[in-house]
Symmetry: C2
Subunit: 292 residues, 2 copies
């Protein structure tokens, strides 16, 4: 039986758990924002994967999903785009951008004694240069989330984990070294998705497929925006998964405020594409991570 | 001391090891091709990561690197593009495409008894639907390579690993279920990279950066190819890692045989880009995986 949690619990926010992941921090931030700015009560709803948090909303088990979409160092979170392309019932409500800090947590005493480092592949990649420089001897082991990596620390004194400083506080674990990310301006975009279509905002995100192996098939859709002076802030290609060389393209475009012109451009787009899906028109909220 | 292995060992092929990974299979295939088609002796040189196999060649510790660049289900292998962008001394010599088969290996007897599944994140992603359908109860644990996942099997009777059937043979481990990839035409492109510039072939791969936040900044470079009827078979954006919204673009273009026109298009490209790097003009070899 699917329970409509909206009735029982106010707004529910599905997110990659458990408590202490960067996505959970984003969900906490958004819940605080809903309470202070909108007077709405929001409850967190942890899920074992990003895909499942999106499916939860599509199946009405949660009101909204909070999912990472792009990191400044590691790029697109591909599972988010791939899953969203398959779920036409979901619409982007808003975007939040969070600075991401990584710390090295360990129950051992020194950097020299560390033999293994656990973390989520995105976190490992965001600290790759630091690891090569400071822990060249350590074995690097991926985990399903930064929080899951922490379970090794008490069991293995020669292990370390890369996790947000907030996770160290939550799970009462010692931080050996703070701020180990390779790029100081490391930050992640998160989308808040729900079932309400969104039609206003500074940014528009969409996806489309084009006929395969036609010269210029991608240029025509892009020209539609260029001719109108509409800025394209991101383009990403993802495989259709059926055969090599067939792609779905994902674009972020900046709204120039001329709603009619944007609408006309989106209509023109359908002439040159096989399938078009507008994921949402939305605004961007910035937070300074007071939960750190 | 860096030893010039070319003198001692003929051609050396750096690749992600250990023995039994899909990349090692690709390297084996290419070594066989070098022997049978060119009469050259090639020795495999396993490395702990894709990035390190590329650095090995840049630092002249190996002659060539064999690296995965794109899978039909999971898309670009981003570490390959990111590392290549930083190593101007490397050039693509050729591409090989291999069909990729995944099998479920386990020392336990039944599917129902499996509690954990280990594999490389790419392999886990390529079998995601199968796992959700047939092993919804299992915990999914990423590993650094499909081969590394195998080390758990003898220790944990309730564990399974996703690996190529060839790895089962090599390590004498039982296959519980064959062909569990979600898409039957699952295949991977591998590049063979070396220090010799390559200037002829069916395909050209290149990367470029454009001025940030200029409307149409990406359209102008793409128009150069569209106007000349040159087909673009792939476009990929990767973050510069410095700040959100700054990208390097990677293109694959199909040579139309008109070398002068291609050369002229590449020269025109430099007018609209900040940095351009041509990774190589190269041909594609197909193999039917007799090593399976």
């Amino acid at each position: 039986m699917v329970v409509d949690l909206k009735i029982n619990m106010g707004i529910t926010l599905a997110h990659l758990g458990p408590k202490g992941t960067n996505t959970e921090t984003a969900a906490q931030q958004y819940a605080q924002y809903l309470t202070t700015a909108k007077g709405e009560l929001a409850t967190l709803y942890p899920c074992p994967s990003i895909a499942q948090s999106l499916h939860c909303v599509a199946e009405k088990q949660a009101t909204l999903a909070v999912v990472p979409v792009e990191n400044s160092t590691e790029g697109t979170v591909t599972v988010t785009l791939d899953t969203l392309w398959q779920l036409p019932e979901l619409h982007i409500q808003t975007e939040i951008i969070l600075p991401i800090y990584h710390a090295l947590l360990s129950c051992g005493v020194s950097l020299e004694g560390i033999k293994t480092v656990y973390s989520h592949p995105q976190a490992l990649a965001q600290c790759q240069l630091w690891l090569e420089t400071h822990l060249p001897q350590a074995q690097i082991i991926p985990s399903n989330s930064t929080t899951e990596a922490l379970q090794h620390l008490n069991l293995e004194p020669t292990s370390a984990a890369i996790a947000p400083p907030r996770a160290a506080l939550l799970y009462d674990l010692p931080i050996l070294i703070e701020d180990i990310n390779d790029y100081p301006d490391n930050c992640t975009r998160f989308w808040i998705l729900g079932s309400t279509p969104s039609t206003r905002g500074d940014r528009i995100s969409l996806g489309f497929s084009v006929p395969a192996n036609v010269p210029g098939a991608l240029v025509q859709p892009l020209q539609i925006f260029a001719e109108r002076g509409i800025n394209l802030s991101k383009i990403e290609s993802r495989p259709t998964k059926r055969t090599l060389g067939e792609y779905v393209f994902f674009l972020d475009i900046e709204s120039n405020g001329d709603t009619d012109q944007i609408q006309e451009a989106l209509e023109a787009l359908s002439q040159y594409t096989k399938v078009v899906r507008v994921f949402g028109h939305y605004d961007i909220l910035g937070f300074n991570l007071p939960l750190r």
